[in-house]
Amino acid sequence: MRYLDHAATTFIRPESRAAMEPFLSERFGNASGIHSAARSVKNAMEEARERAAELLGARRPLEIVFTGGGTEADNLAVAGSALAGDRPRGVITTAVEHEAVLEAGAFVAKLGGSCTIVGVDSTGMVRAEDLLAETDSETAVVSVMAANNEVGTIQPVREIAELMRAEFPEVAVHTDAVQAFVSEDITVQSTGADLISLAAHKFGGPQGVGLLYVRTGHKLEPTIHGGGQEMGRRSGTHNVAGIVGMVAAMEASVADRDAFRKRVGEARDGFEAELSRVVPGLVVNGNTAQRLVQHSHVRFPGISAETLLIRLDQAGICAAAGSACQSGAIDISHVLEAMGFDDVAAGECVRFSFGWVDEASDGAAAAHEVAAVLNAMERVA
């Protein structure tokens, strides 16, 4: 199998698996209990929180809220911020955000707040001043992803945060760093954000666990209600194994990050160079000057992405297009639509994404395998 869908989810790092193992067997307690079994897991979880806070440059461990994944973290950041006051307030975000942010914004609007969606250019970039122009005293949160999960375009989050801090200091800045963390320097300092979402499975941790960094003093209305865990911000019994595994993967990712950028960046560049050589008219999407090193989002003019993905799958190559709906059919991506792609162009785009397991040489090798499938398709076309 040639796995080129690391942006969807990636292999669990050995450090993460090893860290989780005790919590899947003898260390099984509920972190909220009073007995020794509970203490044992509670300690492990709080140690993990401290390490996560350090890795993100947070001032205090309790600025880290553990969640059930990136979507939950985004919902808590966006809806939680807008609903925290005496009345629902405004959300400002971009047209290329993950659905977790866009739908949370729509939810706020449904409850009487508002959600303003700012457009992007043809590379998927938003301009800080466009966000500022929409901001007013009713705005609770501005949410801009660190990097796009489809095309990989990196947004000017730091610039946006600084501009907001200067013009609207009471407005919180959220960044969904779910896709970016594995390869980009994501900290409170580097982003300037008040809220940062992460999802473990994108950087070598398990699925179903994530976190939200929340700057001290920022108020959140919980979006999941229950027993009051995580200082009331995210109720539900802690997924201790997942939390410990996530933080181990964070540590491993941060330690590997420079090498990842070099190794995986070379793989991606080699992939695109080889593929461009054999596919006339191949278009590389996104902001090629400012994009995640592991992403290659390309358009194959005249070739249906749906057909290509099936042919690739039959050849053992895993790639993606758009976002899979519940049925498994491919929906036209809202990201590409926001970038100005029509349905035909959007229907010819495929995302290949590399991961921590890849070596620099894997890129060209993958391109040859993809090219072989394209050649076989052309023989029947």
């Binding site: 799958d313 049925s327 076989a376």
Partner: protein
């Protein structure tokens, strides 16, 4: 041989996939996403629902074959659903399953078989394809009570050369036995009777929601008494319909005719339904040419027996003359020509002919 199996999530296509695999072929399972709710979800009732796609996926997983959902929503909407509304608007009684087969399943999808690196398209229809020196033949399914050859009459030689219908050789009971033997989860699943895009609801509600202008209120005129009443919309009626007319004249009344221009529904005694023939358009023949012998049997509804008739070309259309008067000829339905168990071809009824 690599087979692209259209898996609806029902027992027939599940077994079709299993039979192809048992015969030593490679199998790729697909479900066509044909219709979706406003939020892009699959329908919850009828054929090809969320649950059906899940059943298909699970069967494919059990058979250990790749499985995909292919998006045909756009093609299906324009070729089948919009046409469904237009035909009702025109006072006709459409058969959307036939339009789907003609324009989506055995056209758009068949065209992609090669693109998906497959050799044949396999479906779970109860009909048979045979081949001899004269070419490919389409025949009734072995299980007469489940025969679906009527809805496949538009297939020509090129299509039949690339279509395999494995369960056409079996009774429905055998299909279920086979599914049970293989432990397929769809073994005892009931047959779906609903239109995939209408679901369990009434097609009339669907029309009112999606094609509000298809409901032309108007008058209902009785040929056999002087009663004139009103009705809520011509789309609520089909030629031959007896129930739901909202009239009580002491003896049964049937819909005899629908006149869209004046929104009039004409009703009358049963004998008014008798037609000596019908006009048929968009006619195709399985052999890609008309038969030498124009004496055939014709079936004018999915669930009515084939009756002797004679074919005659009239410009682009064909005229079917029944051996003896036949009732309930509904324009919009298909007239399918048979000789014995063989399908010769068919088309869409445009009008009944009454002496």
């Amino acid at each position: 041989m690599r087979a692209l199996v259209a898996m609806s999530g029902g027992v027939d296509s599940s077994v079709a996939a299993a039979l192809m695999l048992e015969a030593g072929h490679d199998v790729v399972g697909v479900t066509l996403k044909q219709w979706e709710g406003p939020d892009g979800s699959l329908p919850e009732a009828g054929c090809c629902t969320v649950g059906d796609a899940e059943d298909a996926r699970r069967v494919a997983a059990q058979l250990d074959v790749p499985y995909y959902v292919l998006d045909y929503v756009e093609e299906f909407k324009s070729a089948v659903v919009d046409r469904f509304g237009e035909m009702y608007r025109a006072g006709l009684t459409p058969n959307p399953c036939i339009e789907c087969n003609r324009r989506v399943r055995f056209k758009a999808m068949l065209d992609r078989v090669e693109q998906l690196d497959c050799d044949v398209l396999v479906t779970g229809h109860h009909a048979r394809v045979t081949q001899d020196a004269t070419g490919f033949h389409l025949r009734k399914g072995f299980d007469g009570s489940k025969d679906q050859s009527y809805v496949l009459h538009m297939l020509g030689q090129d299509a039949l050369s690339r279509v395999v219908l494995p369960v056409g050789e079996m009774t429905k009971a055998d299909v279920r036995v086979h599914a049970e033997r293989l432990g397929l989860r769809t073994a005892s699943k009931p047959d779906s009777q609903d239109l995939c895009f209408v679901g369990t609801g009434d097609y009339r509600d669907f029309l009112r929601e999606h094609f509000p202008d298809s409901a032309h209120p108007g008058t209902m005129r009785d040929l056999d008494s002087d009663t004139v009443t009103t009705h809520a919309g011509t789309a609520d009626f089909t030629v031959g319909q007896r129930k739901g007319l909202g009239v009580a004249v002491g003896e049964p009344r049937y819909v005899v005719d629908i006149e869209p221009a004046t929104s009039t529904v004409v009703i009358g005694r049963k004998e008014r339904l008798l037609a000596t023939g019908c006009r048929v358009e968009e006619v195709s023949f399985v052999a890609d040419r008309p038969p030498d012998d124009m004496n055939v049997d014709v079936k004018i509804r999915y669930r009515s027996p084939a009756v002797p008739a004679r074919l005659e070309r009239d410009g682009d259309d064909w005229v079917v003359t029944f051996g003896k008067p036949h009732s309930s000829v509904a324009p919009g339905q298909a007239a399918v020509f048979y000789r014995g168990d063989e399908v010769l071809g068919g088309g869409t009824i445009t009008a009944s002919i009454r002496e």
